[in-house]
Symmetry: C2
């Protein structure tokens, strides 16, 4: 039943702020930096933007930054244009791009902006993610629930089922920190050794400190337009086309673990979002047809599960995939060449937009030391909820 | 520069819960009731729905209900389909419909669902709107700021400029409570007298108790499809077409009063959103071309300003417009035939969806005692931010 807007919408500009502990930049500062970078890259000004979408998930930690479209309109002086806000857990930034793309494909707007932004560090204790779970969520379903705790059970189950170990998780951390060391925008820019990973303090057994992505501040933006206008109006020889975009909600926020179809070995939402995006893009063998992928490595175990859910390898084969170097720069399908969430960090609303922006930069050959040579088609993925919702984009160079 | 999707998207089903203090219904109960009513009206089942949008503005008062698409997917068992959440202050519910309409017009989906829902009554004191302003907003811009306080200054200015009075505001309250008395879904279903309005306790000078809408629980939903499928696939002889939909952000959330263009006599966001929607719909004389309107009467003064911002009458003419009965049932352009926010209440995320659903019911001749006879084209309007953002729909019978 899935219809298709493949090839109708182009990404002509991308901007990403430095990710990190950005106490010196306000929410608006981040939004402005990301959007103006994307404007400059696209060769547009704010006057060209006809409508915009903002992705922010947790605006109410302090103040109202990001609660609605006016947060973006104000920062960028887009008045009096239409600006909307979307939120969908950790897929939030990708949702901003997806809405913007549908709006262009609908014929209502020719040139639009999508921004993802979140400040995760500058919150009072009551505003932190952990505090919100403790204070506001269901007293039974959510008792003691944290993000590492939700994913640790999958690692334990995976180890049990396939004989994998913490050493396999460490392969992911070492790889992504290596990639991050090459990316000037990453939160962490330092290589780490497997020994460091294995000796790090435990967070939730079996996930240690280096198995977890940090909470981070940051923003990212892309400018989208009708595909036929990319060259005709903006003079672009090289740009990126949206070939497929899928979204799936497979559980409730608190009920992943209670879903009888959930085997604790992967996420149905990712598999379904990929199915939609692959069908639209005509991808039948992702390992061969994709040149790189940015996936949601909130924890090292998540990246292993993503390999399998996204069809990069078979069930139980993820440890061999990462150990063989397939997902490392220079491998057959480099994954998280930016450093991923593991090194870039994870400002929730920003992440999905950063993934799309980073993939765009890769496809346009602008990634310097972490460039994948000759990349023509790539995948972007986010997983939220945790596990309830997933978004997948397939992007290609025109 | 505005493009057009006029006539491409049909509304084939509408559902509205009872609005009120619904302590006996959970958030999910409300979502299910509204959506299933809309399904039944459309003649669809959940299997027909290909994607859905949820509008909720304040999910974090207690729990995570409404923070993301999974809240709607879970309540309706839409797994594993794409479900997104939008939020844009008091235009939130209308944004859900707008995104859903663009998605259909994009060609990606044929049949989609838009739901708006909010529980405003079942929140702890720390979760209330007033507490959030006091505890979380800017200590200078937002000091002492409340919703009645923000709108009261416009009433004072309007009185000064045009010689209007509290008696004019009371005309709006009496009219909308009369309309609400005819609507079985309204929160307040009792006629009131002008004397009651004028003698009511003061909230913020000059706005008394009956000049303010209540905070309320509720949900509303609409089913949308490609216009050509309304009859072909669903056998509908009568349905509603989206002729125009506009959205405008004209200020930041906290900066309305600091905008040098703001004259405290109306809202630029409403005028611009109406301009967009009217242009798409070919409306040049709204007073003549519209048969009814649902507008954002969060306070009685707001409805008067809306008449002028939406072009129903000239500047300063709103008191005469309401006094002459033009906006009363049976008048030339009945406004808020549901009872408006004044009688229905204002569950923030639900309101915009309720407005679209109510207008749909009017255009299909199903409003019983508050039916506008022969209605063919109607307007729906919401204002949020407050004053920062506005959304306007023009809907017509096929």
């Amino acid at each position: 039943m899935t219809k298709n807007i493949s090839g109708k919408v182009a990404i002509i500009g991308a901007g990403i702020t430095k990710f990190g502990e950005l106490f010196e930049q306000s929410y608006n500062d981040l939004v402005v930096e990301a959007a103006f970078d994307a404007y400059q890259d696209a060769g547009v000004t704010g006057d060209d933007i006809e409508a915009a979408w903002l992705g922010t998930f947790l605006p109410l930690g302090w103040g109202f930054d990001g609660t609605g479209g006016p947060s973006l309109a104000e920062a960028l002086n887009l008045y009096p244009k239409p600006v909307s806000r979307v939120a969908n857990y950790c897929t939030t930034g990708m949702e901003a791009v997806r809405m913007a793309a549908m709006a262009v494909a609908s014929g209502l707007y020719d040139v639009v902006l999508a921004v993802g932004a979140e400040k995760m560090r500058e919150v009072p204790p009551r505003g932190s993610l952990v505090a919100q779970h403790v204070e506001k969520l269901h007293p039974l379903y959510a008792k003691g629930r944290t993000a590492p705790g939700s994913f640790a059970v999958l690692a334990t189950r995976y180890f049990h089922e396939y004989g994998a170990s913490k050493d396999d998780l460490a392969e992911v951390a070492v790889k992504n920190h290596y990639h991050g060391s090459l990316n000037p925008k990453a939160h962490f820019r330092k290589e780490i050794t497997k020994e460091q990973v294995l000796k790090a303090p435990m967070v939730t057994e079996p996930l240690g400190l280096f198995d977890c992505c940090p909470t981070t501040d940051g923003a990212a933006a892309v400018v989208l337009c009708r595909a036929d206008l990319a060259e005709k109006r903006f003079g672009k020889k090289d740009y990126v086309l949206i070939e497929g975009m899928g979204l799936s909600c497979a559980n409730g926020y608190l009920t992943t673990a209670f879903n009888p179809r959930f085997d604790f070995l992967g996420f149905e939402a990712t598999r379904e979002a990929a199915r939609q995006a692959y069908e639209q893009a005509g991808v039948t063998n992702p390992r061969e047809q994709l040149d790189l992928a940015e996936v949601h490595d909130c924890f090292t175990i998540t990246e292993l599960l993503n390999y399998e859910d996204l069809g990069f390898c078979g069930r139980g084969e993820a440890p061999a995939f990462v150990r063989g170097g397939s997902s490392r720069l220079g491998g057959e399908l480099p994954v998280n060449t930016s450093g991923g969430l593991k090194s870039c960090g994870h400002p929730i609303g920003a992440t999905g937009a950063r993934v799309v922006a980073h993939v765009t930069n890769q496809l346009l050959g602008r990634c310097g030391k972490h460039q994948v040579k000759g990349a023509k088609r790539a995948l972007g993925h986010t997983l939220g909820g945790p596990g309830a919702v997933s978004s997948v984009f397939v992007l290609a160079k025109n």
